[in-house]
Point group: C5
């Protein structure tokens, strides 16, 4: 597929492909020829835009009969993941996600698509690696007989797989944090920072992945004329992936909460251990201070200015100090 070179138009990248009977019959043709291909019997067209301007879409808007509201949504960022039904076409907004394991940051990027009875038009940012989608199409060429349904399925499959990968990466991350949690020399601040970032990523991922259930549900309701009923098991398969992402997200959120609670408990435990140590050593150290204080008085105590006093003092310090040390050791306070 490396020969499918994108044609540059007005600062954005546009790529075109036409399929017939499961075969790629043309690619890289200009937008003006889209309608020529659509006229051919059994031919479907995929047009891919990277960061299109308003004018880029105007041409297609008329040719494919797209609703102005859908075109507006396609150009404006910040859509909810959804699938909208318009007269003569569907419009879907999806989110590609990428979890960078190094920085622990989850980034999202909108992918939108128009689905008419014979054409798929995808619109995305450069962050979305369109070659993945191409690979999905090439790997499943046996399904291409299902026409535009095959193209739509490929898009959803490709995007949901990305959600899946991100969830797995987050799962690994959480395993790592949990391991560090019980480390004998914990880097608590690090655990905190990573937990917080993780929670944020999970919240973000849920925001873009949980509405996918609705999207797939709409496609599985079997009443959309744009969708070929024979591909239902394939959409069901994507739906299963969406559900797994969603369930795993819930599980991970649960675990992050437990990590935070456990960490608080662990810190409280460490605090108690430290406090016990402090108390014990403070008591042990207070002994010589009190005794030497006694023998430092300018009053004629027994042994005042005599070797007897010195010996008594030393014996007392060692004996009482040692006794305390032994007591604390026995109670596991030291």
């Amino acid at each position: 597929m490396t020969d499918t070179r994108p044609a540059r138009t007005s600062g954005t990248t546009t790529s075109t492909r036409a399929y017939r009977d499961g075969e790629l019959i043309a690619h890289g043709f200009p937008l003006a020829e889209v309608s020529d291909h659509l006229e051919k019997e059994g031919c479907v067209v995929w047009v891919d835009f990277t960061d299109p301007s308003e004018s880029d879409l105007t041409e297609l808007e008329d040719e494919l009969g797209l609703h102005e509201l859908a075109v507006e949504d396609a150009l404006q960022d910040g859509q909810r993941p959804k699938i909208d039904r318009y007269d003569g076409h569907l419009f879907t907004a999806l989110y590609d996600v990428d979890f960078d394991r190094e920085s622990g940051v989850l980034s999202t990027s909108e992918v939108k698509a128009f689905v008419t009875s014979r054409a798929l038009v995808t619109i995305h940012h450069p962050e979305f690696d369109v070659s993945r989608l191409e690979r999905t199409y090439d790997d499943n060429r046996d399904l291409s007989a299902h026409g535009v349904t095959y193209l739509l399925w490929g898009l959803l499959d490709c995007v949901v797989d990305r959600h899946f990968d991100a969830t797995d990466a987050l799962d690994d991350e959480i395993e790592g944090i949990a391991d560090d949690l019980f480390d004998p020399r914990p880097r608590t601040l690090d655990v905190q920072k990573r937990s917080f970032a993780l929670r944020k990523s999970l919240v973000q991922l849920r925001r873009v992945s949980s509405p996918m259930r609705e999207v797939l549900n709409t496609l599985l309701r079997r009443d959309l004329k744009e969708v070929d009923a024979d591909m239902q098991p394939y959409f069901q398969d994507v739906y299963d992936h969406v559900l797994r992402v969603s369930e795993q997200n819930d599980s991970l959120r649960d675990l992050v909460s437990t990590i935070l609670d456990t960490n608080l408990n662990l810190q409280s435990n460490r605090m108690n251990l430290i406090m016990k140590k402090v108390t014990s050593w403070a008591a042990i150290i207070a002994v010589p201070t009190a005794i030497t204080g006694f023998y430092g008085q300018n009053v004629p105590y027994p042994g005042f200015q005599s070797p007897v006093g010195f010996v008594t003092s030393c014996v007392l310090i060692v004996a009482i100090g040692g006794l305390l040390w032994w007591q604390f050791k026995r109670r596991d306070w030291l």
Copy 2:
């Protein structure tokens, strides 16, 4: 639209507008002329009241056949966001919201409306900037052929956009708090105050925005004769915004909880660090005290009143103190 001057009646502000075929054919006319405009073929009327008194509405109540319960609700504050169906008209209560980034305070202001088959009557407080609504109408004049449905849509779109803006502002605020959380010199009290205010704002925003789902759902059920079915995609668009506000609210609440939990963890961590430092320094400082106490005794210890004693004392202080310091440093307690 700057020439649409409001006409003052009895302490409240009233503004009137009449549209036909997508054109503003009259504005600023007195309430008495409303029925004249309603008699014209294809003409719709928008009447806007700022803080009306009971008598202001009585006139319209008869003219438009409004239900007394609806009029009561319109005059009384504290309604739930809702849309009520009466014989011959709809009544809706909405909330305009405004988040002041400076003070961190979210303020809300009720906006109510009657929707008859040919007229929209809006009632609000001066806090609601009606010029935003005018701008929405002017920007979408191509939809005005849908008559009163267009007016109702404009109102909802305008109000929900405000919810959207507030949510975005709260999102920024939470980002700021999260950044301060891991600041090496944290202003914890500040984080607490802002988190608490944020949580309050989120609770408040949810209270006025979450019932909007029901409102839009009612309008999307396609069985209201007041609503033009052709505008369904536009209401669907508003509904998508409502859903996004609601989902983002949930996400933000989740994050605020996580911030509170994380902060508690961080403080507990700082406490542990401080305690470890305290213990370590206390131990190091206790050494000279104990040693000089020993050499301060009035008993003939080795080196009593001789330079040997002085040297031994100094050596012991430095040696034991240094040893402890090195041990604590090695264990990262200092």
Copy 3:
């Protein structure tokens, strides 16, 4: 209405009223005359019992054809708020609530009612101020043409308004607690006690108010022959109030949780500040102790028993103590 004197029977208070065409045609008549009034065309009767005994109800049980299970429920406390449908009549159990701002205690009191096609029988404790209900009836006399539906609506409206008032009072209380929370000299124990009492009140209020949704839903289902369909908007209005109480309750519970969490954070923060102060002062105070300990040794240190020693000692104490004080001040530990 002050002339509607209750007639005392067997230790309980009974009050009777008969309406026709929106007018109060009789009141204070004995129970035996209830059936006389019911025979009159278009006449409805309201009988009100305060703490009735079993025998008080037996008379009516036969006259109005009440189900024995309903009568049992009416006499026994501890019912769930509900509306039960029996052959020929409805039975409803509600809770009047009262929040005492002084003591912070929420008290509840059961109110029960039978609704036949022509009569309303209310049963309550002396805590329920029946004059509120009378006022509701008098204020809405224009609705009395709806017969017994009007009486039932009045009862629900009156009780739900009480829930509403209690919720508002709890809202004020929570505002007060939140204000005290960030007070520079917090009375933490007080905040705790009030938060706990508030949470208990919220739990209690929810227990009596949340089943009201079901009650109203039953009445709005439009299939009860006892209920006049024309009054649906009025029941819808009560339903809106029930929803608001329920939503506000959720919000307040959320805020109480946040207050508890925030308070824990604030206390942890105060603890950290105290610990930092303790550490700092302990370090500063340890300096003179260590130095004077040194100069208190009975060994010939430099300056032993000479003014040079005194000056050095003083200089050291002031210099090191001052240095520490300045360092801690700079780091905002003091």
Copy 4:
């Protein structure tokens, strides 16, 4: 009813009763006579087993046409509370509960029953006090005309009443804990232990009581031929009790959580108070130590070995100590 002696068979206790037209016509007859009674017109039979063995049930299995799966469930412990419909009979599994206020332990005991068109067979452990059930039947003899439906209702009513009683006992327990919580001399460990036990009891109670909703719902669906429709209000009454148990359980769980959170806050508060006291006294006590340390130096400070020094030392100790004490008292630290 004291003369209804159970007949012992093979180590288990079996009791039999036959009713006709609301009257107990026979009891204590052997199992072999059950079918004789069933043949009589309008006669229903109740057979009660305590800890039956497999063989005890085999006889009835054939006679009453019980499904083998139901018999298996009846003999095996650990069923979910449920009602199963088999051809020709119902099978229900319920849990009797008992909260021991002394030990704070909630114990549960399974009660199972077969319901055919003419017979009720109950199976339970000795922990279940069957005399309660007998009392329920005797107290409601007026309902016995409803045949086996009356027997089934009595069983459910009796069991749900036990859930109710346990909930009330748990409610009292929680009141007691809440009172101890703010006790000026709190027994915190005790509060913890009781809270934890209470939470466990609530979890356990919910496990056996919440599926009762389903059980009652099944019975209220009016499509079971074994159930007499005229008794619906009585099952509705039991259902109301089930709902109350469930709602109260939720409320109590909420309160236990609040108690735990509040307790943590209170302990943190007490910790802060202690820390403030420690700091204050430490500062006050450090003063004489520092001053006497100064006057203990072997250097010619002003007042060295002269009464002036003694007076100055004493004045300094009292003055600075007193000043600190007064400052701390003023700030409410002592």
Copy 5:
């Protein structure tokens, strides 16, 4: 059953069995003979694969008409527990679970199956002990007349029983942790580690067991032609087990949360006790230090260098120290 030896093919283990009229008529026959057995009247076949390769399944794929998507799912790990309906067969993915009480680790292992009208094909890893399944089939041979439905039921019953066992083991584990929680000499770190592991196991178990509800629900909907309606009570029985696992999981999660919260409370309590002890002893120990400091001054205090001073010093130390000790003891601080 020990004579049912598996036949090895290409590195994986394959086992075959054929039943007719409840009897095992053949086993251990090669895959090629499967179709021979399927042709016999009333004969059902069970084929069991351990870790099959793609080619192992290809043969059956054609013979039994399996959908390629199902075969793909069967070969690829990481499926959601589910039951999919394809033309002519069902495909189900389940998880066997095993909780190792020693290590506290819950391990899961996928089990998948194809169900055609006459054959069951199971695919699993070596971790799944297939002899359990064989035992289930042998113990319930009386049901084998239900053909493939019996085989499917046996598989579900066997897997759900494993979920049940794991839940019981987790229940025991939680009991153990709760007991250790209030141990007078708690091993807090251990409690933490076990709680955390337990929570992780619960999350994991829920992930594989909660979708089983859906699976059973699908089978209970009575519209699958592959499933014999007469076995509904048996599937209902499995469903009850699934519900119990799910409810117990919820209860256990609740208890783990309570354990974490209680532990935090307990640690905070212990911290307070330690702090009180530290304070008390610090105060008691400060007394001799202050007094001996006083008598160590080089100023002529009363009793300076005289036995009177010594006696006074000793009396003061014992008296004040004793008084403090008695005070602290009385307030239960020591």
